[in-house]
Symmetry: C2
Subunit: 768 residues, 2 copies
């Protein structure tokens, strides 16, 4: 069923032949980036076949108009489109008048490699031209992890015969978005500057006025001869080119070295962008290609030291998790609080916006355990800073008195998606944002965060739940009507159990936190309540909701009910759907999907995952069995959560199946959509499936806790986590678990029911 | 609360002063048309203030792209936009260099009149120019009801001083839609031709390639002098002008006579459009303005003979119903089966498309009773001809085996609206289309229609209901999940009572019709069942659904429940909404509206209206009281139905209040949106409120039935109806009802419980 396109390898993604039909998918898979910018693996040279051109800069977007005919009050004003930015990769090649174009040339060999360990994208291929000349070409490209405004390309061409080769190395601001409605152009080119040394285009986004300088510096070398000749400069509007016409003898190699720099008005004064860009290019030239590459590779090796997961005995599983960790680290580095983690990172246009609930519900734990505590804190502060906008967002919908509804999709705190069933109704995101505060404090012990930032957000969200929940005279219970749960294959349902649960959880956590802070930080709390005009009667309202909330339950099956009315649907199982009708979202109408019992992604199971301590094992087992059989996992965010819960109930085969599904979702293209871009945010789910799933890592009473299991396919797996000034390495095999405390102080952890002391700089082996 | 803008008058709409803030509303109110084309009452002369320019041609539309980011399988491919067409009204005036512009000139007097009896739009006004000259201007304009491709304007100017007047009479294809997303232009101008006699622009719609010739012929007269001088012809792309520079003495009057003709590729070969247009203009010139006008006026007088309703003692009520009848007759004449009745007719851009369920559920009875039977039949045949498209539409959603889902909005049978909650879910429209067949046959007795056309549609719709209805194991009942009822302030609800009811009604009517035709038309039926691969087992399935369908009911209040879960909503009454928050759709977010208990339009009450014989009076009373208190009537289609039902239960004050609300909806701008265009389809609801409401007209066992009441504000009301080759005039006052049989054969009717014979050409008076 799954067609394997890429060779299994522990550290690399390898495509061993060229297949135009999967090229767009490969453009996604081989994407590179450095947290500030990134791009799809488009070819440097001209390619006339199908390609999704994509080059993206963090934080740069365009507000696409949404006020069409059916706009209604409270609908967002715009949809934030991720913008394809001016391209700096172009190196067009002509040999004796024939253009290099893999869509047209005869391809003799082709290998594309993504070296994840070192962060390098490579290609080696040879083509035979119409005149019989065989060209052998080697390329490599990277976006520097160290100097985040810089990138470089090395592009070598070796002809089998004496040839006249014309090389055009260019930057181009005439770029479009594939998803533009009317072939709109989103960039205004402000200036073009080019000379022998470098060329820089300054371009500005329409409406949002982000200004970006995109510069290049091109050199050409013949065998070992440095800079063979100066380029001829060419330019048209928005296109700058260094042109090199070269006569090349048989078996000589010409090599183009191209440095690129992208400077953005997010980081520089607009008037200085071109200057900074040129300075960057000058420093690249001084440093040289090899040194630029070496420091980049060293930075990647050190990233891997922090965040690698090793799996022995299962190359595909190993490749999958490394691919996921690699892409996560390419997408978000955590050192810019204005940026966040877009669902497709820098690998595609789809979904627009930068921030979904994915960040809190899926990504936070990964960054919390593999990066400095400030990275996780920055993710939380991103929301704290946008609290004002979240309150405005709620006001637009008619809520008052400081109630906050965080946006479903945002660039700057404003809601910028346009489907009412999502923006108005998929409000469980508010719960995820509250839960992330709890999760962070539980993990880091940073209780100061609560009084300084967290409680303010919790109160605003609790005020929202209070107003959003109403009392049903018919049921004599509090209810929440008209929501969309995590399962987006339902819309506008009443009493989605997960949303009700997270809302009540928020209310309870907020009043418990309030009570706690009253003991520990009375003065600061006083200040805060004044600032927020907070009346303690609000606490009583919240308590009354928590104690009298309605939660749907089905007596017949003894299960939690996803929402009211779910059992009125025809109860069919995923195993009943013919294989050729999956994924159903590509084969069924939206009407049919909405009315079916099929579940897009973890919903009740998402609640069991978040709040597992509230349920005994048999409840989790019963509900997991019921809902897993009905879940099609057509959201990338689904299989990871089911995998963690399957591990929790020791259903290890299911946990392994779902681990592979999440870790290799894009590599094996389970959902037939990898060509649109990668599922970045769900990649942290693969990490969750191992660390929280197989290893059973939790925080219990301020201690790290483990309950490891291991799939039978694996010899061992190991990972490293940061926890409250400790670095702990954990290695699990079928017989034992080894804990290595890499820090200078002892660490007590809990392994199942027993306490284990792991002394500083020592390892402890525990038999399972 | 209601601000009266227009003077009450039995036959006219009169605006006695100019107020720029209501100008766009007046542009709607004073719209004119002839069933083939129509237009808003834009000024002939330049007007620099706010104006919604609108000139529309029946059947001409543009397929606006709907495949944006959130497009899903089964969503329509396009939204059919009603297109603003090339304009022929323009007459710009400059006097001694100063432009006539009511937004800038000092206005001394202003009267705008719509003479509904004669179908003429008039203005008389005077302005003082900066140089002190006072201009007195009289205009009149009509679109011929007789020659449906022609129209004319008479525009007179009288200066108080000797003046140099420049007149520019023009046609212009540089028109835009106000609702265009990106200032798109929808017309390509193909050719411009102008000479002294006439000027014609040929323009084509983009994508749909409708071609339209828009021509004019302009004459200028000074006092009684015929054609003063030949025009100077001017042209730019898409703009043709007859320019007249004239010296006018004090107290002389110059008069522009402008003939216009619009020919469309819907009715002519494209190559002949310009020729036909010129021929039309030539025939206008030969006929002359007065004769053209006289035949037009005569046609209107005869229309009124057929369809007038007279109300004595209540000028506002009289004006309201005549305004409604006038606009209905301007919108649809019933002699072109390709055309239908758009919700805004020719008065605005909003809603796009031409056909909604409005046609069957609201308009059919009006045309059935006031026009030849073929008009109603043509409305039915419109759907019959689109059955294939309706089956395709259902297939796109996953239905099979000949199931048909008629579109919510259409131009040519394809669904062309884009809100899933409407297109997929507001499927009750299928019921309305089935019910219209029953309604037509009940009224006309045309049972042949059933075997020749009707049953085929009924079977296809029944097949849809069969597949759309599922069995709930939880309820052990058939259910219909995920629908939107007539009340569009709910979306995606389960078991909307109205939809369930109409679905079961359709199934039952279909199998009863089948059984009846088996007796009467066995051979034809055989042919049909073969054509449709119809298996009689299908009948059994339908019966089983009818006998075991779930209908929501609330025991506590003893009422039918609009949908499952409705009583979980906070139960607030319309009377609790502050006046300054109404209409709620202009003050509340869509989120708040969806979650409120407020009902946009008749929903349960719509069912009581359609199927009243199934309910006893106390059931109707109880449900009406409950739902009327919660209904905000923010759909134009709502108050009329509530009015009819209020009359049925003899709640005459409520019926009268709701009659005024529907009949004067636009004149008094109840919903603050008349500037966007008029609510054409609901205008037949005003007719329903009188004829079915106050007069209680029904068809019972092939007889006309009446149960008249009269509002205390009225002295009498009278109307004429066509019924099965009879013309019956009915006049009701508080004491008696008079029936006048204008036809040559006797007619037996039923008045309450008694039979009344009304002999040919005689009248009968019955004391109430």
């Amino acid at each position: 069923m799954i067609k394997k396109i890429y060779k299994a390898h522990e550290w690399q993604i390898i495509e061993e032949s060229f297949d135009a039909s999967v090229h767009e998918m490969s453009e996604s898979i081989f994407s590179i980036g450095n947290g500030q910018m990134g791009q799809r693996a488009n070819f440097e040279e001209h390619y006339s076949g199908h390609s999704l051109q994509g080059n993206y800069i963090g934080g740069v977007y365009y507000p696409d108009k949404t006020r069409v005919g059916w706009w209604k009050n409270g609908y967002p004003e715009y949809f934030a489109k991720v913008l394809n930015a001016p391209s700096w990769i172009g190196i067009d090649i002509t040999v004796d008048g024939e253009q290099l174009d893999l869509a047209k040339n005869k391809i003799l060999s082709f290998t594309r490699t993504l070296d994840m360990q070192r962060g390098i994208l490579q290609r080696s291929f040879s083509v035979e031209l119409l005149n019989g000349t065989v060209l052998t070409i080697d390329t490599e490209r990277f976006i520097s992890l160290v100097r985040t405004e810089m990138a470089a390309i090395k592009y070598s061409i070796k002809p089998s015969k004496k040839s006249f080769i014309e090389v055009s190395s260019f930057v181009d601001s005439n770029v479009k978005n594939t998803d533009a409605n009317y072939d709109e152009v989103f960039w205004n080119t402000l200036s073009n500057e080019i000379d022998d040394t470098d060329g820089v285009i300054l371009a500005e986004t329409k409406k949002t006025f982000f200004t970006i300088a995109t510069g290049m510096s091109s050199e050409i070398h013949l065998d070992s001869v440095n800079q063979l000749l100066n380029p001829i400069s060419k330019q048209k509007n928005g296109y700058l080119c260094h042109f090199f016409p070269v006569n090349v003898d048989q078996s000589q190699t010409i090599t183009v070295i191209k440095y690129a720099s992208v400077t953005s008005s997010l980081n520089h004064e607009k008037g200085l962008l071109v200057k900074r860009c040129k300075e960057n290019l000058a420093s690249c030239r001084i440093l040289g290609y090899n040194a630029l590459k070496e420091e980049h590779v060293a930075a990647w090796l050190s990233k891997w030291d922090e965040s690698d997961i090793k799996i022995e005995g299962d190359v595909e599983a190993q490749q999958g998790i490394r691919f996921n960790i690699f892409q996560l680290n390419q997408t978000y580095s955590g050192n810019d609080t204005r940026l966040n983690i877009g669902p497709k990172g820098f690998t595609g246009e789809k979904y627009g916006g930068s921030t979904y609930w994915d960040t809190e519900a899926f990504c936070l734990p990964f960054y919390m355990s593999t990066a400095h505590q400030d990275v996780a804190k920055n993710l939380l502060l991103y929301r704290y800073k946008q609290l004002g906008k979240a309150i405005e967002n709620a006001q637009k919908l008619g809520f008052a008195d400081g109630a906050a509804l965080y946006p479903m999709v945002t660039m700057n705190g404003e809601e910028c998606h346009n489907e009412w069933e999502i923006t108005f109704e998929e409000i469980h995101r508010n719960g995820a944002i509250a839960f992330a505060i709890f999760d962070y404090v539980r993990y880091t012990g940073d209780e100061d965060y609560l009084i300084n930032y967290g409680l303010e957000v919790l109160i605003a969200i609790s005020r929202f739940w209070k107003q959003r929940i109403t009392f049903s005279e018919a049921k004599k219970k509090y209810v929440m009507l008209g929501v969309t749960g995590p399962n987006e294959y339902e819309n506008n349902v009443n009493n989605n159990w997960y949303t009700n649960k997270l809302a009540c959880w928020t209310l309870q956590y907020t009043y418990e936190t309030f009570a706690m802070l009253k003991q520990t930080s009375a003065q600061k709390l006083d200040k805060l309540t004044q600032k927020l005009s907070f009346n303690e009667n609000e606490l009583a309202d919240w308590k009354s909701i928590v104690t009298n909330m309605y939660f749907p339950f089905n007596e017949e099956f003894g299960i939690i009910l996803q929402q009211e009315g779910y059992m009125d649907k025809e109860q069919i199982l995923v195993s009943d759907i013919p294989v050729n009708q999956r994924p159903i979202n590509q084969h069924w109408s939206w009407d049919r999907i909405l009315r079916s019992c099929f579940i897009k992604q973890a919903d009740v199971v998402q609640g069991l995952y978040c709040l597992e301590d509230q349920f005994d094992t048999s409840t989790i087992e019963k509900n997991f069995a019921f809902y897993e059989a009905r879940t099609v996992h057509e959201s990338s965010l689904s299989p990871c959560i089911h995998s963690v819960v399957a591990s929790k109930i020791k259903n290890i085969d299911k946990a392994y199946e779902l681990y592979l599904r999440t870790a290799r979702l894009d590599l094996d293209d389970y959902n037939h959509e990898a060509r649109e871009g990668l599922h970045i945010t769900s990649m942290s789910g693969s990490w969750l499936a191992i660390v929280k799933g197989f290893a059973g890592m939790r925080i219990k009473s301020d201690l790290l806790y483990f309950d490891p299991i291991i799939p039978k396919q694996w010899k061992s797996y190991s990972f490293r986590i940061l926890f409250r000034n400790h670095v702990l390495q954990v290695k699990v095999n079928a017989m034992q678990t080894e804990f290595l405390n890499e820090s200078g102080t002892d660490l007590t952890i809990k392994l199942k029911e027993r306490f284990v002391l792991v002394p500083a700089h020592q390892s402890v082996i525990e038999i399972l």
